[in-house]
Amino acid sequence: MTEPSDNGPKGKRRQGAVTGLSAVQQTWQSIPEVVRRPIPLAIVLVLALTYPFIYTDLRSLGELGDFFPQLGSVVIILVFTMMAVGLNIVVGYSGLLDLGYVAFYAAGAYTAGWLASGQFEQVSFHLGSPGISSDVTGIHVSLWLVLLVAGAFTAITGILIGLPTLRLRGDYLAIVTLGFGEIIPQVVRNGDDFGGFNLTNGTFGINPIDSPGFGETLNDTLGLPVSYQASFERERLFYWTILALLLITVFCSVRLRDSRLGRAWIAIREDETAAAAMGIPLMRTKTWAYAIGAFFGGIAGAYYASFKSGAFPSDFYFNISIFLLCMVILGGMGSVWGVVAGGLILGWLNVEGLAVIGSKFNEAAGTNIEIAKYQFGIYGAIIVLMMLFRPTGLIPERRRKRELEEGVHDEALYEVPH
């Protein structure tokens, strides 16, 4: 890859100043590429895996300790990060502005509600659901299976929403997806009486929802937990599982980006007409982006519903679609690791960060401002500042970086020697 910045003015400045930092940099550069490349990822992974063991110690580090989130909060942060990585396939890779991603979250959560709770008390169906006595009514399917079904169901929802809307371009697509993002929460809110049939239990939502687990047999043989909810290590188990789900999502989206389909998505984002002329079926390719983005959103939604043991219509506000979009923009559209970073940062601010910062601020300034109340103003300000100073996001995608930093067509197209 030719990186224009390598021989730009920055590179020269770096050569000029021989400091301790550049010595470190030189040592770092001398490590062979094969070893060097996976090191940062490995460090992050080890820290992430051991966080359940170290976070109590970290949190007791005096003033600084408050900035480390509780384990339960991290589960929520990771759920939303996973959704953001899914949304990135739609918005970042394919350039389809989707303002209704919350619909997929809702579809996933309610799939878990239907297939792993006592919602349908008319029936009693049990399939590998641990820790639930067989005389309990309702459908109780193993949550692992529910996650897959939720992904599939949400992907189909994505296709159904996509078929009529993906013919639209740009702003029109955004408006229609916005509509669907509003419709689906309304449907679940009013879904307690479909001709006498209680589908969604209306505003009360569906709860409790079963928790994941491995059952007695696997507990005996492999020592895996019977049921997360009943375990003393409940939060740790939920944490490691969502970490694994997030990593799978990241892995899939990196692999897809570098595949035939990923190239087609990016080609559509760059120039739809040219993409079609290269033999890329526009509708099918865009619909796949929608379906795959929805798939991960659905799994995250179902998992979250199981974690908090409920699915409620009040969870699915329009705000969430925008919040997820902010994560993608903050991190860098199209950049998987950027979106993960954006998701972690905004997720943390949302769940704990703003409250912590607010109380610190109030302590220091002697004021009594509820900073968390201004959260959307703050997120908005972050996005505006990002757009002004770093429009490519925290960790820009290789391509976007060029596009936004250099501007398109800022140099003469003609280079004809005379």
């Binding site: 224009p4 389909l261 190239r263 087609a264 993409a275 079609a276 976007r400 398109v408 003609y414 004809v416």
Partner: protein, 268 residues
């Protein structure tokens, strides 16, 4: 791409037949019942003053526009109502009048996108890294590099399209179109903005495509030197109507063509 000698294909059916093709935009008739055939293995030029409907005609052949009436048959198949990607899949590759590369992608990636319809790698296979998909990707990359070299873009593989010099961008558009493995290649003003040397080498290149790759070429071209040099047949459009057709020499002497280009003589 197999090299088929042009002589071997002369006797075949024409590769493209357009019958009474018409396109209206509101009240404007952009293309008026044009009949048009492209003999297999030939180089045909489509010329005419600005606004004559040449690009509109091109866009109908490639499925960007659906004709208001008329019929287009490519390689024995009716493609009149087919979408662009399906026509490309059947074997029509094209370039654009105003270069439309995927600007943020490298030259290599641009060519790989062109191969889309010829590759099979599915979603699951790509995610798990199935050997079949990896092999296909490796072969595709090799072929793409070969195509880049063939198109005169040696050593440009990893340069982002928009950073290529203008002449190379034109060449890359052709390489990308060739990656779709076309039987018929449509070039929309390929030498626009090129200097005489670039134009001459491009003309050679198009000749090679026909002889070495057995391609049929249809091009819109304004440079009469290019048109007269390499075309087997020339079709002239004016105000959406076909006003002349024939060998370059015939067309050059045609009264109506001279009129269309130079205007009617004042004393008539």
């Amino acid at each position: 791409m197999s090299a088929v000698a042009p002589e071997a294909r002369v006797a075949e059916e024409p590769i493209l037949v357009a019958a009474a093709v018409r396109k209206e935009f509101g009240g404007l008739v952009a293309v008026n019942d044009v009949d048009f055939t492209i003999p297999t293995g030939s180089i045909v030029s489509l010329i005419g003053p600005n606004g004559a409907g040449k690009t509109t005609f091109f866009n109908m052949l490639t499925g960007v526009y659906t004709p208001t009436s008329g019929k287009i048959v490519f390689d024995g198949k009716n493609v009149t109502d087919k979408p662009p990607h399906a026509i490309t899949e059947l074997g029509v590759g094209r370039t654009f009048q105003n270069i439309r590369l995927f600007e943020q992608m490298t030259a290599l990636e641009n060519v790989l996108v062109g191969m889309h319809a010829r590759l099979k790698g599915g979603i699951l296979g790509s995610i798990v890294g199935a050997p079949r998909v990896r092999r296909e990707e490796r072969r595709a990359t090799e072929r793409a590099r070969e195509l880049l070299r063939f198109s005169g873009l040696r050593g440009r593989d990893d340069i982002v399209a928009r950073e290529l010099p203008y002449g190379d961008q034109r060449r890359l558009e052709v390489a990308r179109a060739l990656a779709t493995q076309p039987k018929l290649l449509l070039l929309d003003e390929p030498t626009a903005g090129m200097n005489p040397q670039e134009t001459a080498s491009f003309t050679d290149f198009v000749g090679r495509l026909r002889h070495e790759e057995g391609l049929t070429v249809l091009m819109i071209e304004h440079d009469m030197k290019v048109v007269m040099n390499i075309s087997d047949r020339v079709t002239v459009l004016d105000y959406g109507e076909k006003i002349a057709e024939g060998s370059p020499a015939e067309v050059q002497g045609d009264e109506r063509v001279i009129e269309a280009y130079l205007g009617r003589a004042a004393n008539e």
